[in-house]
Symmetry: C2
Subunit: 407 residues, 2 copies
């Protein structure tokens, strides 16, 4: 009998829908006659090397699998392990021997840039050694920075979280009449996609957030202060979204400006984020009430604002990858191809993973306003479809979200 087994792993930072991708792969693999067992690596390639994996049929009841779709985080656990550049490294034959023992025919890895690097290396090693294991990458990242795909699973939910939270913080900021500035620091070191999503919070022209700064352009703090002064003409409560990675024209990160904010009582350096720095800058220079909010890990782990579109697409991409592997594809990443904005339509495709790994897609400069303090209508047309639809998260007997976790 020619049935081969499938193994899937998760890698890098988690998202709200990385388990939806997993659900897509696993449920499709279980449906396929020609696939035998479906295994999951625990803590990615690193845990697998240490012999840690599970069998989905043993680990899950039939209805339990559905719960993956509403559970954030990485069900299988994650890792940040980089395979050696040299394909002659002994780790490769070691890995492939383990694959052989488990009769693996299909290797799936769900992750971002670094994970696609793993997919690239394993598929190249397989080609080099004549192994017929098919290696497929499933995209994942809230940063939306993978090339050759319209967007990435995880971005829509994170963008929905950012947009609705910025709207709520704006409602909160509006209760007082006194002039105030609220700086919201959003994830994104090199790509501003998620910060740009803050713009979706606006309900009308001149609504907050009045200013948006991405790492794609250089940040000038004097121009920023002047912009805030001007924004007070529109609203006494000014809300500003900034990417954690904003930097000046010399490439110095704004969060590094406060290098004196550097010593705790042990003499160790402490770093506040750029939000905290700008809060102090505004308070000291403009003499107005200022506060900063760092949205932090909830951007990637909150299930409360999961986008139904994002969830659905992640499941479809997972299943699509399995069908592609069965057709003989390998060394590919599943990609999203947008065919229409209004109405929003997209199809799935495959791209050479070697063209994707270790590259970064940033927000096009044409989508950023001339003065670098806002995004254009193009961004709205791009991002709005991706945050559509609420997902009902099942509640447990304690009344809180009932996430599934490994025993």
């Amino acid at each position: 009998m020619n049935r081969k087994n499938l193994i899937v792993g998760q890698s890098g930072g988690p998202t709200a829908v990385i388990n939806s991708s997993l659900y897509g792969v696993v449920s499709e693999a279980m449906r396929q006659e020609s696939i035998g067992r479906v295994y999951g690596m625990l803590n990615g390639i690193e845990g697998f090397l240490a012999g840690r994996f599970l069998d989905f049929k043993e680990a899950f009841g039939a209805d339990e699998l559905e719960k993956l779709k509403t559970t954030p985080g990485a069900y299988l656990g994650s890792c940040r392990y980089k395979l050696p550049e040299d394909l002659n490294d002994p780790v490769y034959p070691l890995l492939f021997r383990k694959f052989e023992e488990l009769e693996i025919g299909y290797f799936f890895y769900i992750g971002g840039n670094d994970s696609m690097d793993t997919v690239s290396k394993l598929s190249r090693y397989a080609a080099k050694t004549g192994s017929n294991i098919r290696v497929i990458g499933e995209p994942k990242t809230i940063d939306n920075d993978l090339v050759l795909t319209d967007h990435t699973p995880g971005f829509g939910s994170a963008a929905r979280y950012v947009a609705s939270t910025v709207r709520e913080i704006t409602v909160d900021a509006n209760v007082y009449e006194t002039k105030s500035v609220t700086i919201i620091e959003i994830m994104g070191r090199h790509a501003g996609w998620l910060t740009a999503a803050g713009a979706l919070a606006r309900k009308h022209a001149n609504d907050n957030p009045l200013l948006i700064y991405l790492p794609e352009t250089a940040f000038d703090q004097e121009a920023f202060l002047a912009k805030i002064e001007a924004a007070f003409e529109k609203n006494p409560n000014v809300v500003v979204c900034v990417s954690e990675g904003i930097h000046d024209k010399d490439g110095t990160f704004i969060c590094e400006y406060d290098n004196s904010v550097g010593t705790d009582s042990f003499g160790h350096k402490m770093l506040a984020g750029c939000g905290k720095y700008l809060e102090n800058l505004v308070r000291n220079r403009l003499n107005v009430k200022a506060r900063s909010v760092e949205l932090n890990v909830s951007q990637r782990c909150s299930a409360s604002m999961m986008s139904a579109t994002d969830q659905k697409e992640a499941v479809l991409a997972g299943a699509f990858g399995v069908k592609a592997a069965l057709k003989g594809e390998t060394g590919k990443m599943v990609s999203y191809v947008r065919t229409s904005n209004l109405p929003y339509r997209m199809t799935l495709g495959l791209e050479d993973v070697n063209e994707i790994c270790n590259k970064e897609k940033t927000v096009p400069l044409e989508w950023i306003s001339q003065d670098g303090s806002d995004v254009t209508e193009d961004f709205f047309a791009y991002a709005l479809p991706l945050i559509q639809g609420a997902v009902e998260i099942p509640l447990g007997s304690d009344g809180l979200p009932d996430f599934i976790s490994r025993k």
Copy 2:
């Protein structure tokens, strides 16, 4: 004709359900034959003194009023204005002259400690001058620190937000195998109710958050470090909840320990929170991965985790206050009286506002574990009923929560 008008205002920091209280007052007042117009002060007593108010019948369509129940923040705007202690101050006759002009018979103020101080002063001034305006306080605070009431509107939703967010952050922390400590900083300067709600995130014994520190007891950083070391035996990923107001036995706030984290490039003092301080302490002393998350304003302004119980009770309390005022009550705050835990049952009551204002209810010491690093089962029995039930927030055409706001 003897019909009098009612005026209502909101004061202090907003919550997820302060507009539900407003809905309760306004909808009940509109139902009552003996009440004429229903006015809302804009930005509380401060805005009213400046002549700013609205008429609910003019401002709202009939179905629009319902939207108050799913809109966080203070619809009428808020203020932090304290009336003078001296009832002979000219502001009092000025205010009451304005009340007279508008033929006000009923004054409602929705807020916390400071707002109850306003209710106390206005009711005492009315008594002193023989005015028959009836003055009623509607409780509101996420801090849950008002005395003479089982709990306060706003707490249940904030507690639900904290519990589910701590659960999500725990899911996020669990994806890696490497030892890590996540410090979650939660609102509460003197009362630890909200931080204690972090405990509700646990799904089983020895689940995260493994440690919880409230401002009701003294914090010792050496004991804290030892507790973390011990917690690693249970889980490599340790999640800790701390109140922003934790302090040592001498009363020094932990966030003041890093007084050297104090100068930005302008030489101005910068303060990080206690979470940031403890993150650095853990990293430097225990040599493990550490991060901190400040839940910040989303605790009070997020509608995504609104508690249906909290929302329903806030509406009931609003309506109850109107009926009490019509019966002749004045100088009272509406209170929650719990009659049973299992099943949870509560009724509404009235308490003398003079016994409430400027006092603070903290977590009973019997509900805190001996070593000050956890809460007892009593807290669970108390808090669990208050976070029950999800509320569906209507979505707008942009797919995001559709909050109502003043034109």
